[in-house]
Amino acid sequence: MCGNEALAEAAIIAGLDAYFGYPITPQNEITAYMSRRMSEEGRGFVQSESELAAINMVFGASATGKRAMTSSSSPGISLMQEGLSYLAAAELPAVVVNVMRGGPGLGNIAPSQGDYFQATRGGGHGDYRTIVLGPSSVQELVESMPLAFDLADLYRMSVVVLADGILGQMMEPIVLNGGESDKRPKRKLPPKDWALTGAEGRKQNIVRSLWLKEGVLEELNCKLHAKYKQIQKDEVLCEQFEVEDAEIVVVAYGVAARIVRHVVNTARQDGIKAGWIRPITLWPFPAEQISKAAEDFKIFLTVEMSCGQMVEDVKLAVAGKAPVLFYGRPGGGVPTVDEVLDNIRQLTLPAKKG
């Protein structure tokens, strides 16, 4: 099973009621897999006429209280931003998988992390956020799916699973059904009493995003903001390795973090005190963990498959307490172990001499 198929099966196990999607490389395996499996399961599947339609189909299914998702890759995710903004305003749960490719424009079909800004800043118009998960293995991709649906239902908002062409295409051994490695406690989810199910024996339910009366939208914005603050407090996930005594801390997520793991192990063997921090939730961002690491003077190196996007969040978290440097390759380029290692050697060289 490739990453794309694995995440699709994980979504089905997580109780997906309907999948809507439009073909785009490098995530076509998801749509193909769903077309077969969802009909086997007797659940909803539509190959939509566009990404605009797909995200609005998700909106419709979600408004009735069903678990719905779509998947796409970068250019298609751009088309979905209108829908994501409306989902945020209507406080509807949704799961969106972005198997990132090179951009801007049609770009290419190679792996990239160029959509970090779009994903972590909301993406569409208006004052909102989406939860963003950045898995770095096929197993983690699988575990992201039930988590994404739970978080979406719990907070009534969109959760973006931010993968890339490598994760989507590669094969790794996985444990389905939540995975024994997933030790996170099961969440108690609130009832969907807001859902449109037909007003039988109750008052009419309305799902809306237009608030013309003075002050009402401001109130909604503040309510959303309070929800986002709560998420930043409760839902940050990140992993770190040998940060305590490190002179250089490498920050990376997703596939880039796999490269960094290898780089840091090699650097340690060479006597360089290196460690790494891997954000798993890209929003909420593990700012506190990074800020804590910056208290002892260290050098931070952010490694991304872009010209530098997450590095801005690292800088915000470090807040001038330490230098934050960047190494990345955009447009489908993947940083090699040697390239990152050379960067680390150069950065730690003066310290060694001294």
Binding site: V46, N56, T197, G198, I206, V207, L210
Partner: protein, 246 residues
């Protein structure tokens, strides 16, 4: 004297003041939908979709579960709803800007897939909510905020006959154009709307659409009475009434 009630509000139509302009057709069509829902006894399993446009607040008048969606996307939203709730009656209520301009792709593909939904399409030949700009359905010579010399064919095109366009698709099982410009025509429109809902309730395999030529006296710069006359005399030339399919 013994008083007898011969006409009353139907339960699914809320008892509240309207925000629509005097002489607007939305109120009439809302009532026809509400009557249909009550007569068919489907109130408890009906979900409506309000568009972007003057009727964005349709849920303030129609007492069923309703959602307000992005401009033109109602048929996609309806698809998501119906595919996950085949036992529910899903209808969208869309104006000409919503359905015939920005949402052309969504309505064509929902019909093309044969979605089992009902679409009420209000054609008043103008964008009402944004201040009376040209719609794809604006008739030749009609003065609007963006066709100040009157709509011309060169550069602005012909009135878009979206119902004719949809009627050729096998997935659209019922398409009828009607109007609410006089009591007889209103009764006919009611029949069409009821039929469209009945088809869905009966599990018919495909999309049903009723186009309603509806007055906008405000942006036609006419009295309500003149607007009704204009529909009958002018608008029906570009948009002939009748059953196009089914």
């Amino acid at each position: 004297m013994i008083m007898e009630t011969v006409f009353k509000r139907t339960p699914t139509l809320k008892d509240c003041p309207t925000h629509y302009c005097p002489g607007c057709g939305h109120g009439i069509v809302h009532r026809l939908i509400a009557e249909t829902v009550d007569e068919l006894g489907i109130h408890g399993r009906t979900i409506g979709i309000a568009p972007v446009g003057c009727s964005v607040l349709a849920y303030d008048y129609l007492d069923v579960d309703m959602v307000e969606v992005a401009h033109g996307r109602a048929p996609a939203v309806a698809t998501g709803m119906k595919r996950t709730n085949p036992d529910k009656i899903i209808f969208s209520y869309q104006g000409d800007g919503d359905l015939a301009a920005i949402g052309t792709g969504e309505i064509i593909h929902a019909a093309h897939r044969g979605e089992q939904i009902t679409v009420i399409f209000i054609n008043n030949a103008v964008f009402g909510m944004t201040g009376g700009q040209m719609a794809p359905t604006t008739v030749i010579g009609q003065v609007t905020a963006t066709t100040q010399q009157g709509r011309e064919v060169v550069g602005q095109g012909y009135p878009l006959q979206i119902s004719e366009l949809l009627a050729v698709l096998p997935g659209a099982i019922y398409v009828e154009r009607c109007t609410v410009c006089n009591p007889a025509k209103i009764r006919k429109a009611k029949k069409a709307i009821k039929h469209a809902f009945e088809l869905q309730a009966g599990g018919a395999q495909g999309l049903s659409l009723v186009e309603v030529l509806s007055p906008c006296p405000t942006y036609w710069r006419m009295t309500p009475a003149k607007a009704m006359e204009w529909i009958e005399k002018e608008m029906t030339k570009a948009f002939p009434l009748g059953r196009l399919k089914g």
